[in-house]
Amino acid sequence: MGSITLQKVSKSFGTTSVIPEIDLEINDGEFVVFVGPSGCGKSTLLRMIAGLEDLSGGRIIIDGKDMSNEAPAKRGLSMVFQSYALYPHMSVYGNIAFPLKMDGQDKTAIDKKVKDAAHILNLTNYLDRRPGQLSGGQRQRVAIGRAIVRQPKAFLFDEPLSNLDAALRGNMRLEISDLHHQLATTMIYVTHDQVEAMTMADKIVVLNAGRIEQVGSPLELYRNPRNVFVAGFIGSPRMNLIEGQEAARQNAVTLGVRPEHVRISKTEGVWKGIVGVTEHLGSDTFIHVQADGVGKVTVRTDGDFAAEHGQPVFLTPESARLHRFDADGQAI
């Protein structure tokens, strides 16, 4: 079991308020991702759930019990830290066994659980090594191993992949998702990378300046961003946000259209423009176009589209996929 409820949770350091009141419901077994730019309060929120940071107001309820003032150890949660926070003086085995030892379990039980975890995480051959002798990905797995042996009510991940290189990050993303399916335990995952959020989450919580901007499934957020911030944050390359005359023509202050929803043609279209930089990824091509009266527009097209710098082109946004925002940045 692992349902977590935040009721009017707030945090301030001295007189500066970092997180105004937040309400959030996390269901048992859900994979929830907190995403937002750095400094948006996502890590602080996670640490408050963990009990490493005091609440300035509000309550945190875990499985129906008010845990707002409990010590971290009593909350039944596990955490994987950004720096992995492995104990450098203990072997891999010692690291994974530590929480069980603190729990006072007997040696044979500990041994079995550690070996099971090592098996799941492909660490069996490394149990005698020290963390310093492991690669980044292996350390990451040890940190996860240490978290799962306790069979916690929920896992907390604090930007766990940010210290890995791009290729490894992709692998670990899959592994963590896989683990979630195997264990079916609640996971709360903090990241600033919207790709991680989109690929892993059941539910994404977009945070900005301590406030929740929107909560929803990845596709909900992609299809119906509630405001300009979410629209700009979710999706890669970023949504084109157009202001001025062209937006006014569509009865909006800001007009949003994703690069994949703009058609490009060499002969005809609604907007006329000049090709700037072209990025070829093989599967896709991103073309940055300076459109007359519209501004810079990024277009995503198939890998074979050939465009030269300075070439005139025509763009047509799919009208059904346009996002309109009012003066406050809210979706219309």
Binding site: G51, L52, E53, D54, A71
Partner: protein
């Protein structure tokens, strides 16, 4: 890491050290300040009375004070000159790769671990003795008249001893700073066509400037209080030629038993040290913010 529980525990954990240090600092200092306004001589018990600034007047107008102040400055300045310049040169040499580098490094820092009384006596007797000392023998071997170090150049002799003790400190710190210099910077400068001397003056020296400042300030703090070296070699003499402020106050307190006068001198010494400390604390404090 900051919850109410941990913060409360932290305060309890800190208090013994903080309270003891506070008492250690404030109680004697207040007493010194109090004594400095009294006529108070241990040889004449019962005659204590409040005399205002008289002790300060005596201490500050005593010609011995000015000699001692001058001696202190010469001792500090001379030692700094030798150790800083010598330290830079030594650090540059020790930074070069050569055979037995590690061993030479150990040899060079060794004097720092020799207790002051030992180094003073060894230098005074076995090296600087005008008849049987090694220096005298060397001088005679080259046909010179041996110098009677502590009679002819007493202050210089003490500076030599103290500099020998502190040269390792300066070298070690400057070497540490030197080794933290980014090799790519030097290589970039070489690509830009900088010669060895320009590299030293435009890159190496500025890089070491912070460490040099630290060396100067910390050594000054300790050198203002040089005591044992003077006590076992010259006892402040001949005359008062090697009496520094520390020794002067010591003599006043424990040789003449003039508590009032010595206290006034102590306060003057505290003020002098504080002027240096002010800069040092700011420098280290700035470093703490990084």
């Amino acid at each position: 890491m900051a919850t109410l529980q941990t913060r409360a525990t932290a305060r309890i954990m800190m208090s013994p050290a903080v309270i003891l240090l506070f008492l250690w600092m404030i109680v004697p200092l207040v007493m010194t300040l109090y004594f400095s306004f009294l006529r108070y001589n241990l040889l004449m018990p019962g005659t204590e009375e409040f005399v205002g600034f008289l002790n300060y007047q005596y201490f500050l107008t005593d010609p011995a004070f000015f000699t001692a102040l001058k001696n202190t400055l010469v001792l500090v300045g001379g030692t700094l000159l030798i150790t800083v310049i010598g330290g830079i040169l030594l650090a540059l040499v020790l930074d070069q790769p050569f055979f037995g580098q590690g061993i030479v490094r150990l040899l060079v820092i060794a004097p720092f671990f020799v207790m002051p009384t030992v180094s003073a006596l060894v230098w005074k007797n076995m090296l600087m003795h005008p008849v049987n000392g090694l220096f005298a023998w060397i001088a005679r071997s080259f046909g010179f008249q041996p110098i009677d170090w502590f009679a002819e150049v007493p202050m210089f002799s003490i500076i030599l001893i103290v500099a020998w003790q502190w040269l390792p400190f300066a070298t070690l710190i400057l070497l540490t700073a030197l080794q933290s210099l980014d090799g790519e910077q030097i290589e970039a400068a070489e690509m830009d066509g900088a010669g060895a001397f320009s590299r030293f003056f435009y890159l190496v020296l500025p890089h070491m400037s912070r460490a040099i400042t630290v060396v100067i300030l910390i050594q000054t703090i300790f050198l203002l209080s040089v005591f044992a070296e003077i006590l076992v070699t010259t006892n402040g003499g001949p005359g008062i030629q090697t009496t520094n402020i520390t020794y002067l106050i010591y003599a006043q307190a424990l040789l003449q038993f003039d508590v009032g006068g010595a206290s006034a001198g102590g306060i003057v010494a505290v003020i002098l040290a504080n002027i240096v400390a002010f800069f040092l604390i700011r420098l280290i404090g700035k470093n703490l913010e990084r």
